[in-house]
């Protein structure tokens, strides 16, 4: 199966495939090392970054705790500035709304700036079915669009591609043979996409932040495609999950100071585009219409659940870069739109807990994700919460039995000592130079992939007794 092309529920199979893909391994190591180094360096260089991250988190907590109120305020301010708010309860609603906007405005050619929300609702096929040509304009997204694939990282969607494979994909698409150096590939991209911007009549974006107080949406990009998408076409549609709403305009810089630092180590991304309504009278350029599609698609359910904290995510990708699991298996293994530690929470919640049984376990709970997260989301805690939920749905009888037996043993010191002795004798049967390389039964799950240290000849308890005598 080509895991890059389709969403799936085969975490184990996809991970195994990723682990035996040397170019992917090299690309992931390079990306995550560089981005994590930037993350650590820039948090360290920002005076009281920890306090600022706490502050950002509190703003999000507050916004979510009063989200109904802020959504209504947002609707008022957007309308006041001549924009239109649309309410999309489901992905299907959202697709329909965007298709209708395109139809009513007579738009035939859409350009899109990178938006995870539009990936989530599978917008492109719906628009194309309605006769609207859609072009992804973030360079990485453009590559994977013409390759027919899915993004594999929140901020570096084409990280799984090499220079050579990008040249191959682009040459095939453009029917000309292109050299495989980064600069000329990027410049070819510029030329091709400029033409698309010139022709486009519809610009589709996500939103990194939405401000209730002023009806403002914010786009953060490094390439500038977000700016072109909101400058050239005559209609602009922004699609935002309801969790993107923050209360005040003055809360924005708190997040802006953290987003790029957390994601790449930049003090600020190259372009921060702060849009409040459509083009005003007397202005030279910019869209004539502005639409904001507010998407629920399962978010309200999470808002009322113990997993509310996951809605604080600002999609910076830092937890992916920090995660020892993501760093080896990459984004496609996770099966859904969102990958890495935060994806391991979002995919089960949005998609289905029972169809994604492995995701909450794709973590060693080391906490590196939380340490890297600009809003300090307690990801490990929520992963454990999901594991508990799984257990409630589908109790593991054997595991329960084992733990019950273990409990009985721990309550009786004599039994504990006796079982230790047995375990030692038994395990030493399999030992070779101090290591257990192959264990039978359930133990084989461990030794198939790594060795286990053999028990010492003398137990700690024996030695302790000796030391004290």
């Amino acid at each position: 199966m080509n895991y890059a092309k389709h969403e799936h529920h085969d975490f184990a199979g996809a991970s195994a495939q990723a682990l035996t893909d040397p170019p992917l391994q090299a690309a992931l190591a390079r990306l995550t090392d560089i981005l994590m180094a930037g993350n650590r360096r820039s948090y360290a260089a920002l005076a009281d970054s920890s306090a600022l991250r706490d502050h950002a988190k509190r703003i999000k907590e507050h916004a979510l705790a009063h989200l109904d109120r802020y959504l209504e305020e947002l609707e008022q301010t957007v309308t006041k500035r001549g924009g239109k708010v649309h309410w999309a309860a489901t992905a299907e609603d959202a697709r329909q709304i965007v298709v209708n906007i395109a139809r009513q405005a007579g738009c035939k050619k859409a350009v899109k700036s990178k938006s995870m929300t539009s990936e989530e609702i599978h917008l492109n096929p719906a628009l194309e079915k309605a006769g609207v040509e859609v072009t992804e304009t973030d360079f990485g997204e453009f590559i994977i669009q013409i390759a027919g694939e899915r993004p594999s990282h929140l901020v570096a969607p084409a990280v799984h591609h090499t220079r050579e494979s990008i040249a191959r994909v682009m040459s095939h698409h453009l029917q000309e043979s292109l050299p495989d150096d980064a600069r000329s590939l990027a410049m070819t991209g510029r030329r091709v996409l400029r033409e698309k911007f010139y022709q486009a009549d519809l610009g589709i974006t996500g939103a990194n932040f939405v401000v209730a107080q002023t009806g403002t949406i914010v786009l953060v990009t490094n390439e500038g495609n977000g700016r072109l998408t909101t400058t050239c076409p005559r209609v602009h549609v922004a699609i935002a999950g309801i969790e993107k709403v923050i209360p005040r305009f003055s809360d924005l810089p708190v997040f802006l100071k953290l987003l790029a630092r957390g994601a790449t180590g930049q003090t600020l991304s190259v372009y921060t585009t702060i849009i409040t309504g459509a083009r005003q009278p007397g202005e030279m350029d910019g869209p004539e219409e502005f639409h904001l599609v507010l998407l629920d698609n399962g978010r309200s359910k999470i808002l009322g659940s113990p997993f509310r904290e996951s809605l604080q995510c600002i999609r910076c990708g830092a937890c992916l870069n920090a995660c020892p699991v993501y760093r080896r298996i990459g984004g496609h293994a996770y099966g859904g739109v969102y990958s890495g530690p935060i994806g391991s929470i979002l995919t089960p919640l949005y998609d289905s807990v029972s169809l994604n049984p492995d995701l909450p376990h794709a973590s060693s709970l080391c906490g590196a994700c939380q340490a890297a997260c600009p809003v300090k989301i307690n990801i490990p805690h929520m992963l454990i919460g999901l594991r508990q939920m799984q257990h409630r749905y589908k109790p593991a009888r054997l595991e329960d039995l084992a733990y019950a037996a273990w409990k009985e043993v721990l309550r009786r010191p004599w039994l504990y000592r006796l079982s230790l002795r047995f375990a030692k004798v038994f395990l030493r049967l399999f030992a070779q130079d101090g290591w257990l390389r192959r264990l039978p039964g359930p133990g084989s799950g461990w030794t198939q992939v790594r060795d286990f240290p053999a028990p010492a000849k003398r137990t700690f308890r024996d030695r302790w007794k000796e030391l004290n005598s």
């Binding site: 002023t214 924005l252 372009y271 309504g277 030279m284």
Partner: protein, 244 residues
């Protein structure tokens, strides 16, 4: 029930349910948390940060010097079609005349006829004013309409309540080279200072311009094996000329 009401009803209910699990915290005050500032003189900090982001800072000692810098840039880029903002420092430096005299085709991006789009797409170089500069991050701020800073908060800007900046989106976006001309007193020390300019007056929100753009260096992509390539969509070169 309309779609909108049903939508909001679901959110309302989820807010109540979730708030039962975790108490709703009051809106925190930021105070000085995270304020970086820029020391006694923000100019060197701005120039350093702009360089870090890949841009080029030019400090002009006089108007004549500033004009010389711009002329030099335009001629080394052999730019023929220039797109200029109206008014502001661009006009105070008399750049349109200077550049026309050099033989360039100068378009003032204001009240251009219907063929504007082609003119915008074909320009080789754009020269804009700025609303502000931010020293902390080396950022150029351009706005689509004039910003009137509320007088008590208008720090860093000479003349209280003076209107600053009005530039079309395209000038700093479509041409491959962008030159921004600014004055020293347009530098704000910290990103927070910029956003605080829009603090509501009483209960009334102050709307920012339809598009406020923060530009920090040239357009960049790392999508090809993380090799940094500049100019993939926006300008590949950003110059900031700071006049006294």
């Amino acid at each position: 029930m309309t779609t909108r009401e049903a939508f909001l009803q679901r959110v309302r209910q989820a807010v109540v349910e979730g708030n039962r699990l975790t108490a709703a915290p009051p809106m925190p005050e930021r105070g000085r948390t995270g304020y970086q500032g820029a020391g006694a003189d923000p100019v060197p900090r701005f120039c350093q940060e702009l360089r870090n982001a890949g841009g080029v800072a030019h400090e002009a000692k006089s108007s004549e010097h500033a004009r010389a810098i711009v002329r030099e840039l335009v001629s080394t880029k052999s730019a023929r079609k220039l797109l200029l903002s109206r008014g502001g420092i661009v006009e105070r430096l008399e750049l349109p005349r200077l550049l026309r005299d050099m033989g360039s085709e100068v378009l003032i991006a204001d009240a251009l006829p219907a063929s504007t789009k082609d003119a915008f797409f074909q320009a080789d170089l754009g020269i804009s004013n700025v609303a502000y500069l931010v020293a902390e991050t080396g950022t150029v701020v351009v706005a689509t309409s004039a910003i009137t800073p509320p007088s008590p908060l208008g720090k860093g800007v000479e003349g209280e309540g003076r209107r600053v900046g009005a530039d079309p989106r395209s000038i700093s976006l479509l041409p491959p080279v962008h030159i921004a001309v600014a004055q020293r007193n347009q530098i704000l020390p910290d990103l927070f200072d910029l956003f605080d300019l829009f603090s509501p007056i009483g209960a009334k929100p102050q709307f920012p311009p339809s598009c406020l753009t923060l530009i920090t260096g040239p357009s960049k992509t790392g999508d090809i094996e993380l090799k940094l390539v500049t100019g993939v969509h926006g300008p590949g070169e950003v110059h900031v000329v700071i006049c006294d």
